[in-house]
């Protein structure tokens, strides 16, 4: 066999091997978010048809939350303007919303902006954070007006 062909096949085979690895990694990537509960738009054939659903689910359409309101608990009525910075909630003094509540942890939860959605995530609190009735185990998108419960305190995002 001519030397050139040998060299080409040699390189070609290695390329093929690595393409397999990358194809496998692509599958890994597409799976990364699936278990965390976030809907991520990964280009694939299946996603096309149910693309509409998350849109329809979002209450309040394109309105951006502007403030965070404490609706229940000792701090009821407190409002915090949302300026894009993450909001720390807990008993620690440097929290954005300092709770005086036996059921809250020192660093209880964080509400932060990702893209143009607000997400709540639990920071390993003892008693958990609840978005409406769901326990927050992974960062969850917070729609407008849905209560977040932390100990005795309930907060929600308002436009």
């Amino acid at each position: 066999m001519p030397e050139l062909v040998v060299q080409l096949t040699r390189a070609g085979f290695l390329l093929l091997l690595w393409l397999f690895v990358f194809a496998a990694l692509r599958v890994v990537r597409s799976d990364l978010y699936a278990a965390s509960g976030l809907r991520v738009n990964i280009p694939s054939l299946r996603r096309g048809k149910d693309k509409k659903r998350p849109r329809a689910g979002g209450r309040g359409g394109g309105k951006m939350p502007r403030q965070l309101v404490v609706t229940q608990g000792a701090l009821s009525g407190t409002r915090i303007a949302l300026d894009g910075k993450p909001i720390l909630i807990g008993r620690a003094d440097d929290s954005t919303l300092v709770l005086d509540d036996d059921y809250a942890s020192t660093r209880h939860a964080r509400i932060s902006l990702r893209g143009d959605e607000w997400y709540v995530e639990d920071l390993g609190s003892t008693n958990g954070t609840y978005l409406d009735r769901a326990k927050v185990t992974a960062p969850l998108r917070v729609p407008l007006g849905v209560p977040i419960r932390i100990g005795k305190t309930v907060i929600e995002l308002r436009p």
Partner: protein, 617 residues
């Protein structure tokens, strides 16, 4: 699957939390990747033939056909019997196995040529390897078919443990004529073929150990004395790890098999660490390993020899049993360099035992560092997917077993590739899926079948109701049901009923858990639930099976849930979810039972231990 989607729309429409396990089955992805692997293997085969013989022979049809048939059968089996299994595991295995076959075939060609020049007969090992793969496939199918739920394995844990030990000890007991090959007494030689029972013992012992750790995990969590700020385990809890160490030492002494001993000890240690999350076990285990290694080095000449060969293979190059093999392997890897000599263009047959222990040297010579790195990455991917399945699966036994099985693959690859590349002393274990050798291949296919089963359970949607009853249909599957905030009945002191933590058991012991009032309230509390539609019974088995009772064959959502003592309790959450209008949070609920049954994702995971702990006390 459709049912799960229905749940989602009913319960969590307005926000995307706890999305349904709407995971696609991804069998198409698997098929694509399998086809890709087949293309790679075929290319490799063609290249080997062209470079070796300058022509193509008909054998490519034979080998290619066998390969395609084997993995088509495996794929179809997975499609039917484990439809949600991980899409990457099988293609990775297919690629590794195919590359192994090609390499063995390529070494056969070289050996045959050498034999021809010497005028000897030569029987290649590639056809045998194909045959072994077929047998392995049969075992793979059998395991996938028979073990519909990996949790059933827990009921055979002690049998598996005993079987594993017997298999492990068998070669040591048998006379050397029946069990010794190349100085290692790890075989059972039967007329016609011989098997290495240790490979199967590995899996059996892992099943036993996972089950044992799940049952006895609390023991290992008990803290002993604190010395220098480190909590040492209690001396009597060291039993299992000492037994493991002694068994490994026994393998070393009686079977003269360094690699298997190392493998067993590593796996034991890893599973102990995974089960307890306490690094101290690793420290204890590693120090025991160091002591054991030192003693073994002092006592056994074959260990000393391995170490001498490792430190400088060239110094003992000409000695019998010296560094010749390792040195040749290193020469081969060096000849390959970064890009390799090209498939079929190198001389990997120079290394003794190139098609078994030193197959990575042969591969490294022909496809170079770049190719060998890709092969190692495929191993990594395989183990990673296994680990991921272990993380995702909900029962602790599955987590431990999956973690152990995946770790066994990487550990074995590390031990052998480390030996070949002179990172650690050479120990004779097989390279999973690549090496020629029936036992290893068979055992590894069983291992993969178990991993696929675990990953199938992990990704399977939670609720698969045998009969879709109308009232049940809107309910969230119990594992996914949202936590519900309920008004406490008037009598408890804390009237506000704020965030009652997810599980009362988790509360600090000082606090009076609300569950303490349960007995008085129970009968009246159960009443409204008793009127709930009966079909709920089919969904959550109401009888309280104790701990490790065999799981019913139908894919039940989470059997550990059933271990809650009060019958009917399991129905509470769905019922509550039904009563509550979506979005409402403070609705009334008639006299909830004392023990809050609010299910959370978190509590699902921990349930088995807690249930077990309750049994023990």
């Amino acid at each position: 699957m459709a049912a799960a989607a229905g749940n989602e729309s009913a319960v969590g429409r307005q926000y995307t939390t706890n999305p349904p396990r709407e995971l696609p089955k991804r069998r198409g992805t698997e098929l694509m990747l399998l086809a890709f692997a087949a293309v790679i293997v075929t290319t490799a085969f063609v290249l080997v033939q062209i470079n070796q013989e300058q022509s193509l022979s008909w054998s490519i049809l034979w080998y290619g056909g066998a390969y395609l048939a084997i993995f088509s059968a495996a794929h179809v089996a997975v499609r039917f019997w484990a439809p949600y299994a991980d899409p990457l595991i099988l293609p990775c295995v297919a690629l590794l196995n195919g590359l192994g076959l090609v390499t063995i075939y390529r070494l056969d060609l070289a050996e045959a040529e050498r034999a021809r020049s010497l005028g000897q007969e030569f029987a290649g090992s590639a056809p045998r390897q194909v045959l072994f793969t077929v047998v392995a496939l049969a075992l793979f199918l059998a395991v996938l078919r028979m073990i519909r739920d990996h949790r059933t394995l827990t009921s055979y844990a002690y049998t598996a443990g005993l079987g594993g030990l017997v298999l492990l000890a068998l070669p040591a007991m048998l006379p050397a004529s029946l069990s010794e090959v190349n100085g290692a007494k790890v075989w059972i030689r039967l007329p016609g073929f011989s098997i290495q029972p240790g490979e199967f013992a590995k899996i059996l012992l892992m099943i036993f150990f996972a089950s044992f750790l799940v049952a006895k995990r609390d023991l290992f969590m008990t803290a002993g004395k604190r010395i220098l700020g480190v909590e040492l385990p209690r001396a009597r809890d060291l039993g299992p790890i000492i037994i493991a160490a002694v068994v490994c030492l026994g393998i070393l002494v009686f079977q003269r098999d360094l690699g298997t001993a190392l493998l067993f000890f590593g796996i034991t240690l890893m599973m102990l660490y995974v089960a307890t999350e306490r690094a101290i076990w690793v420290v204890v285990g590693l120090s025991m390993f160091l002591v054991g290694a030192f003693i073994a080095y002092q006592l056994f000449t074959h260990v000393q020899q391995r170490v001498t060969n490792w430190i400088d293979p060239l110094a003992t190059y000409d000695d019998p049993g010296g560094g010749y093999q390792i040195a040749q392997g290193l020469f081969g890897l060096g000849t390959g360099g970064v890009f390799g000599t090209g498939l079929g263009a190198g001389r990997p047959e120079m290394v003794p035992a190139a098609h078994t222990d030193f197959i990575t040297a042969a591969i490294g010579e022909e496809i170079g560092f770049v190719g060998l790195a890709a092969v190692l990455l495929v191993y990594l991917l395989l183990a990673m997917r296994g680990m991921r399945s272990a993380l995702a699966v909900r029962d602790t036994f599955g987590k431990l077993l999956g973690g152990g099985l995946s770790f066994a693959i990487v550990m074995q690859v590390f031990v052998i590739v480390g030996g070949v590349t002179k990172l650690i002393p050479m120990t004779g274990v097989t390279t999973p899926f690549l090496s020629a050798g029936g036992s290893s291949l068979l055992a590894n296919y069983i291992l993969v079948a178990l991993l696929l089963r675990i990953s199938d359970t992990a990704r399977r949607p939670q609720q698969q109701k045998p009969s879709g009853e109308a009232p049940q249909k809107q309910l969230a599957p119990i594992a996914e049901a949202h936590t519900v905030m309920v008004q406490r009945p008037p009598q408890p002191p804390a009237g506000g009923g704020p965030a009652v933590p997810a599980s009362a058991e988790q509360q600090a012991p000082g606090q009076q858990p609300p569950g303490s009032q349960a007995p008085a309230q129970q009968p009246q509390a159960q009443q409204p639930q008793a009127q709930q539609p009966a079909p709920g019974q089919g969904q959550q088995p109401a009888t309280p099976p104790q701990g490790q009772t065999p799981v019913p064959p139908t894919p039940q959502p989470a059997p550990h849930r059933a271990s809650r003592p009060e019958p009917g309790k399991g129905q509470a959450p769905p019922q509550a979810a039904e009563q509550r209008p979506a979005g409402g949070q403070q609705a009334e609920r008639p006299a909830p039972a004392g023990e809050p049954a609010w299910p959370t994702e978190e509590s699902t995971d921990d349930e088995p231990h807690r249930a077990k702990g309750d049994d023990a006390t």
